[in-house]
Subunit: 320 residues, 2 copies
Amino acid sequence: MFRIGVDLGGTNIAAGLVDDNYKIVDRESVKTNVPRPAESIIQDITRLVNVLRGRNNLEEKDIEAVGVGVPGTINEDTGYVEYSNNIRFENVPFIELLSGMISIPVYFGNDANAAALGEYYAGGYNVKSFVMITLGTGIGSGIILDGRLIKGINFAAAELGHTVIKMGGELCTCGRRGCFEAYASATALIRDTRRRMTSEEYFGEDAAGKTVLWDLCGKDTDNIEAKHVFDAVKLDDKLANELFSDYTDYLAEGIANIINILQPELVCIGGGVSKAGEMLLTPVKEKVARLIFSKNSAKNTEIELARLDNDAGIIGAAML
Amino acid sequence: MFRIGVDLGGTNIAAGLVDDNYKIVDRESVKTNVPRPAESIIQDITRLVNVLRGRNNLEEKDIEAVGVGVPGTINEDTGYVEYSNNIRFENVPFIELLSGMISIPVYFGNDANAAALGEYYAGGYNVKSFVMITLGTGIGSGIILDGRLIKGINFAAAELGHTVIKMGGELCTCGRRGCFEAYASATALIRDTRRRMTSEEYFGEDAAGKTVLWDLCGKDTDNIEAKHVFDAVKLDDKLANELFSDYTDYLAEGIANIINILQPELVCIGGGVSKAGEMLLTPVKEKVARLIFSKNSAKNTEIELARLDNDAGIIGAAML
């Protein structure tokens, strides 16, 4: 039996036809083009579902479910998307609207939870407890215990990005100071990089000679990406090494926190930053090992890089 | 059917006969008298079980289970207590030794988890997801989701006390800097109080006139207790007010973290510090409400003071 997963993002609405082996066998997407009315976005989701059905000669009864990962707060009790900044939804009766247009059972969930679910099912991890941390613009996360998503009383659980690691520290988008997201997201790394590059030590006439980061960003700090820092580390750039060391410190603190709380079998790191690969994973694992409470336990939580790419969001949505 | 719960502490071994309504119907205890051999402590546990049986005319078959809450790291797979600082156990084959002396099924678990379980069952909370935070010498905690303890892969989960809220901050007993326990335990409050009292502002010839804390502790900072701070707040003492405000800040950050991660139905605050009652709970609730991510959700996690006293440890042990 097939399912259809829809990853409703701020930029694209990406849909995939997912088979029983968690493989995407066909896919289609359109631009999200926010802001526009919720009805119009939901019409596009319907259209994507119908395109995938038509192209694969499937009737509605051949599709077990349509699941949509939404970048915001959803309420499974009411079927409403309560709030989404990315797609400008506020109190949208999402399930009612979508199920009015499709005769297939319709489900929705938070997009980070969907991505965790997709990574968990399609990644081939043989574990029962699993925490996914997605390092990108923000920090998304999902917690799976005994094979089930932890959603919390209001479906807003697993906001690991919004746990404080440095009280009174950097201001977070959520309004709190010192959140994990404000230190360990790609955005935070970029902010810190820009800040250091424009500090007295690395700014000025002979700045380019002091760090390759100035070359890598084309002499414009507006162009800085997390990748530039990792590239500069490979060139043994002093400033980049310092930034990278701080960044892995932050990441390790956040990961050690969730390990001390849940001791899952696996913590999986995904998102754009995770593309740095082993050069990121190795120091993070070493630092986490020094920070966790159960240093001497026979077994401890493993830490790995995500195996799937962006497809986790679509596959996970299909599993909602 | 009865069960027997044993709270194996650093000072006392307290056992209770627990009925089906989670009531302790008889109890007995002896001093722990550490250090002494594990075998000798386990003999005392057996003796307590037999005293409770004898006094209540119960045969071994009338007791469903004996559960022991251990202040340390246990391994349910091996039946070993891997490590306990309080009772000086290291790799003790606890279950083997105890079940060699009693013909009743024997269980064990971490004492903080047992206390959470006891509070959850005997406290009459009508919730499925529950986090208990015990504020004492350290910070103990237990997490119950869908009515079951979260133990983690190595039975060492729910160490909320050892999650960092202020990276690089105060040194914690676990070796990490900035742990929740190093800011929100009674010990931390006492440390901060002592530090401020002996600072230039509050120390010296006319010190007693500057804060009532000097009177409350009998002019000796070695005597300071958390209760003195709360008593001084009631007298509107300036220094105590500042210490109390900082303390509730720390407590709120740690509680907001666990809410953002798990969104349980209830967070329950127990331990010596919780005896401060509403004067503690009210500001903590206000501060947490400002810090949580899901400020606008229809439902949010409730925060309450623990309903049981120290009996939670015995009752919970019986439920292990």
